[in-house]
Amino acid sequence: MEIKEIDMRGQICPSTFITALREINLNKNEIKSETLKLVFITDNRDSTVTIPETAENMGYGTTVTKEEHHYRIEIFAARQ
């Protein structure tokens, strides 16, 4: 599976949110067919709530992990 990493460090919500939604929309077919996983790197804490919550409402699976100086949000095809 291909992994596309988008570094959004320095951006704050809702700019990060719109960026993430745009990337998800652009890659929806690849994500749903499990050929692509999106990884957002952000240092904005609000984004760790808004992005996963909306992505899950859109039917995707998400994980959020805290790394040393940033957060890693993964968006992938949800298991049925």
């Binding site: 919500c13 809702p14 949110f17 719109i18 929309n25 929806k28 808004t50 409402n57 859109m58 039917g59």
Partner: protein, 337 residues
């Protein structure tokens, strides 16, 4: 520059162009404001913050088309909701089919004890009309009361937040086995209670009849003049009757520690053990003749029959009835005919 423009267009054209330019800028400002306002409405709906002007300048705002981005996300959200609704509908139909097919009454109550869901068996079990359940509590519907009955499963579940099982709950002369399970939300609060009722009235009656019949047989054997004994495969006594106790002289407490070979005369013991083991292995015994040995060491020649009963294919107990023969030298022999 101004003089060049004056020469090219003239004074009136310049004023017109300036006015048109101002109008265009005002129109663009209104459009930008509209886009920001609508974008912020959508973002608020998505649960995030509005866009600050310093975050996205006007050109970037138009460039990234936030309304388009959010609108497309909404299309996916609605599509996902549609899928979820379809899956919920299928799950609902499956649950309804399960509820309809099981032979037990099932009822789902909310945390205020109001009836939410029930199956057909529940209506049949308690003789309820479907219309009577709407907006009523379980107490009102099942118990005909506004307060909790004694041993109310719902009350106990709400108190303990744990599943409850009642082996014999009686209502209107009928017996029920009741199992209740709490349904909790993510905070651990009980939001619903699922109660399952099994009508065990017939089973209870059957068990009572069996117990009555068992007692009747026990009375018959207890009062029989013959010696009656019921022996477990390990040789211990399950039951002995009064004649047995009187002839052999053991008290009930002593019988608990006895084995069958303890009451057989020493010279008959080996044969008796062989017969007993043969019987346990499926052998048949016609008439049995042996000599019992009482507590006070008196010999009692007996003749009788021994049968064996099985449970799940395994020997459960031997049942013997004996009559004291001539040569009885026990003190109780005079009671025998």
């Amino acid at each position: 520059m101004k003089s060049i423009i004056h020469k090219l267009f003239g004074e009136s054209d310049l004023e017109r162009l300036t006015s048109e330019n101002r109008m265009l800028r005002e129109a663009q400002f209104r459009q930008i404001e509209y886009i920001r306002k609508k974008t912020n409405q959508l973002l608020l709906l998505m649960g995030t913050l509005p866009i600050r002007p310093e975050e996205l300048d006007d050109d970037t705002l138009i460039g990234i088309d936030p309304i388009g981005v959010v609108a497309e996300s909404f299309v996916q959200i609605l599509g996902h909701e549609k899928d979820l609704n379809e899956r919920l509908r299928v799950a609902h139909d499956e649950i309804q089919a399960i509820l309809a097919s099981v032979g037990i009454g099932i009822m789902v109550l909310d945390s205020n004890m109001n009836v939410q869901i029930y199956n057909q068996r529940m209506l049949e079990m308690f003789g309820l009309d479907e219309g009577r359940l709407s907006g009523k509590t379980c107490c009102q519907v099942i118990c005909g009361s506004d307060s909790y009955p004694p041993n109310c499963a719902f009350e106990r579940i709400m108190e303990t937040r744990r599943p409850v099982h009642q082996t014999d709950w009686v209502q209107n002369g009928k017996h029920f086995e009741v199992s209740g399970v709490p349904v909790k939300n993510r905070f651990g609060d009980v939001t619903q209670v699922v109660l399952a009722y099994t009508d065990i009235t017939r089973r209870i009656e059957t068990e009572r009849n069996l117990r009555d019949r068992e007692q009747m047989y026990l009375d018959v054997f207890e009062n029989a003049g013959d010696i009656v004994q019921c022996v477990a495969p390990d040789g211990s006594f399950i039951f002995v009757n009064r004649a047995w106790r009187e002839h052999l002289g053991y008290s009930s407490d002593e019988i608990a520690g006895l084995k069958i070979w303890n009451i057989i005369a020493p010279e008959n013991r080996t044969d008796c053990i062989e017969h007993f083991n043969s019987l346990l292995k499926g052998g048949q015994l016609s008439e049995v003749e042996t000599v019992f040995f009482s507590k006070d060491c008196k010999e009692l020649p007996v003749k009788g029959h021994v049968t064996i009963s099985y449970s799940n294919g395994k020997p459960m107990a031997t049942f013997g009835m004996f009559r004291i023969e001539q040569g009885d030298i026990s003190s109780a022999s005079g009671q025998q005919s």
